[in-house]
Structure formats: C-alpha cells, structure tokens
Subunit: 299 residues, 2 copies
Amino acid sequence: MKLREVGEDKLLDQLLPRLPLGKTVVAGAGDDCAVIEIFAGRNFLVLKTDCIVEGVHFLSGADPVDVGWKAMMRPLSDFAATSALPQFALITLIASKQTEVEWVRRLYRGLRRAAKQFDVSIVGGETSSSSGPIVISVNVAGFVERARWMSRRGGKVGDDLFVTGQLGGAIKQKHLRFIPRIAESRWLTKHFSIQAMMDLSDGLGIDLPRLARASKVGFTIETENLPLAPGAKIGDAISEGEDYELLFAISPRQSKRLQRAWKRKFPKLALTRIGQLHQTSNIKHQTLPGGYVHFQQPS
Amino acid sequence: MKLREVGEDKLLDQLLPRLPLGKTVVAGAGDDCAVIEIFAGRNFLVLKTDCIVEGVHFLSGADPVDVGWKAMMRPLSDFAATSALPQFALITLIASKQTEVEWVRRLYRGLRRAAKQFDVSIVGGETSSSSGPIVISVNVAGFVERARWMSRRGGKVGDDLFVTGQLGGAIKQKHLRFIPRIAESRWLTKHFSIQAMMDLSDGLGIDLPRLARASKVGFTIETENLPLAPGAKIGDAISEGEDYELLFAISPRQSKRLQRAWKRKFPKLALTRIGQLHQTSNIKHQTLPGGYVHFQQPS
C-alpha cells in the first residue's frame, strides 16, 4: 500500500499509540504541541535537531529499521557530546506518495527501538509529502545538570585529548547501528573534570579543529596512536566520519586515574589518548586532511 | 554563489551571529546542542516541529523572505493553539547544492523577522544537501502555565464554537504572511475559561472534526454564519486550509461577555460564533466536505 492511499490521520492512528511515552508527558503526538511536565531544579534545557536524507545519509535499499535507528541515534550522540539526558523526541518524515506504508512502519520500529534504549519518549512529529528523496528529521529535548554541561569551548592549553572506541570504517560497518556514548559521557562528567567534549560525526579531521577553535587553542595529534577500526587506515580514521565516538579534553593530572577507572567500568570499549591541546601560535598546521564537508563534496 | 561553493562552516559563520538570542540561552547554534536555562515553576514544557516543502507549501518562485516567515510562523500557530509562549527555535534546511546562497540569506531574514516578532531565540539547527525540493523544518520549544494549557480535548456538549478572523482565500493571499494568533490566544486564556482550542491549518472541514473527536462530542456548523475572506465562498472557508486562525469552544454562559470584551481588545479582528458542540449521537453527518489531506491529494 502506498502512502497516498492512506490518509495522514489514518497512518498516524496506527503509529501513534505505539510510541514510547514517559510519565511526565502530558500531551504527546496527536495534539497541536507536545506538552511536558518539567522539574527544572538546577538543570538546563537541551535541544537538538538532526536529519538524515536518502542518498546522502542512507542508501535507498537500506533496511528501514536501521534507518530509523540511525535517525534517532544521531541527535542522541549530540546529547552524549553535551553529557545531557535525552527525554523527548519529535519525528518529521518527508516521503513521497509512492513510499510503501510497510517501509514507514519499519522505520518507526527502528525509531522506537532506539528511543527505548535511552528512555526517550516520542511525543509528536509530522509527515509531509515530497517528490524528492525521503527525509527523516528527529528533534530531541532533554536536560543536563548545570555543573555537568559539556561543550566544545572549555579546552585548555596542555589538556590531553582522548577518543572512545575505534575510528574509521564506519560507513562500511556500524553507521546504521551505532550506540551513542551517553552512558560513557554521563559517567565521565560524574567522576572527572572534563574540560571540553564533542561527538565525532564529520570525522576527526573536521571535528577536532572545531573543538580547538571553540576553545581558542591549537592541537597536536599523534596519528600513530589513533585507534583504528579493523581494516581502517589512518586516513580513514581522520576523514571518513560517522564514528559517533566521543572526543574530549581533560587535564593531564587526571589522565592516569581516568584510564584506570575506564578499564574497570567499560572493559569492552577502548579509550585512547590521541594528542594534546596547545597554544594556537605554537602550531603551524592545524587543519587535518579534509573530512566530510556537506556542500564541498564533488556533486 | 552556490551552496556547494561555500563550506557548511563558512555559511554558518555568516548566519549564526545574526540569530536572535534571549538572555536564558547558554549555548545557541554552533555547539552540539542548544542549552537553555529554565525556570520551571508551574509551567509545562511545550514542543512543536513543523516543516514546509518546496512545491507543496510554497512555490519555487516565492520570495524566500516570505518562505522563511511562513516556516517559522506555522509552528508558532500551534503554540497559539496551545496558548503557550514560544521561546526557542531550531532550524533545519535541506537544500540542493545548486541553491543560491543569497536565497538562503533571504530565507534566514524571513525566519529572523518572524522569530523576533514573538521574542523567539533561534538557538540552532542544521543544513543538509539533497537532490530534491527544498525543505525547511522549524522546531520550537516554549512554556505554558499549567492552568492555561489548551488542547483539543476539553470541548463539552453545549459549548459555543468561535473562530477568529476570516476563512478561505488564504492560498491566494495571506498564507505566506500570516500572523499566528498568539496574542489573542494568551488574552483568551487569561480572561476566559476556554474549553478546547486549535489552529485552523488544514481547513475547518478537516480540523473541526479533529477537535470534536478529541473532545468525544459532535458538532453543528451554521455555514451561513462563516466569516468569509473577501472573494471566498463557503466551500473555500471549509476546505481550503492555511487560515491559521483559532477555533475554540467556550461555555455559552461566557459567550456574550467574550464578544463584548473582544471587540474592545481586538477591534480590527473578527470573532465569529460559527456553531456548537453536541452529543455525538445527535449528529448524523459529522464530516464536512473534505479539506486538504496530505497523502490523499491526486498526485
């Protein structure tokens, strides 16, 4: 059955009752706005939107369950970067009238699974038709304790740079099935003074200069120390993107204790010191070989 | 200049410093997530996302300033429906690499103007490339006092039904330049016990049955009383959509006082009693002649 043969209301009637909903959700999908009870206390509200486009972020033949998973997990990876707890998501689906309803159902299965993994309520969204490629946009709201809020800005000269997991090779392997490092990020900010943090989505070669620029410092990377995914080369680790690992800066005084505690807490996930932050003027070449930049690719 | 000739970071560098930002914004566009200081008190968090697609919601030749205005004002119209105050917006732009940078700049001018009109901070967003039509998705977060939260659900048998402004003809005229009825909605919930409310986006013929269904009641409409826009016929007022006026239910005991007070407060904007809510079983034909349904249109 095609989307054009089903009314929007009818499709939503099928999809909405199955969305995960937390207890603080007063009104979820189906009304004009999602409405949520808040207990602010000493928290910041955290907002993020992210979209994936057919042919750019996933291939037309990809399993829609995987596509839904990726669509939800990408903004959640930004919550990991911020050390925030995601709580509420809104889904926007832009699809052609030719799209199979079964495809949409499987997409939502992936979205729901990913949301449940991190106790995220899906509280609303929208569908619209288009003659172009399918677009799924996921908007997430949540909270972070003031003292645990992480940004790219706080890196200091002399800080050690760490990455979680392995870099490179994601496009062939895990980019549709990755798990955002929320648990790791929350543990890090609970037990250590992390100075600056971000997630690696466009590739270390693009993302690290962004962190350095935001922190107004320079950096050096020991490329021979980069944790490579099986089959990946140094160039892949720097420029492929889609790793969704954490990159963070921490005072070298805490590095040793961090590495020991990490091994006990996350024995299956690598944590690697890859370099250091420096004064800007000490560094001649700050730009790593180019990663993925959306509008600069050959078309 | 085309988008593909400008890096994403470079484009954002130009656009970000000009975004409107309120004092509670801790981190806006440019970091992984937007971060906002909240003072919850007795408020609900309100979330809404809405997108417009080239060729569906606006024509390719439309003035991008108007397109940006409409993209922002549509979700704000849902805030009016909820009687909530919008505060923070995230923008997602999906455009082809052939899109003129000047077009994007003018789009943002419209987005900014619309945001400023209601003191909304633009705190982040995303750009992505696509081979298809341009898509602009706007996600808005804000708050409503618990006691003033409006939904479609509270309509009671016997309530009078009112609409603001005039219906029909919007597609030829105001759909790119409308002003969401936030001020009117806030005034209504401050001074009266509104039972149920929504905004008219798909047309009275689609939207009123939704309010009635959510309130578990039926309705009658006095079609001869519908406030018609100049040149519009009754059928247009019922089925064209894009009116972005308020539809609400109020106890008939408050109707007279409401009409008198409204005339003093909003002398330039019509307020019209168009019908009543009834018991479901009393009504035989609850569905008005069809309004605009996204996936049921001829393709």
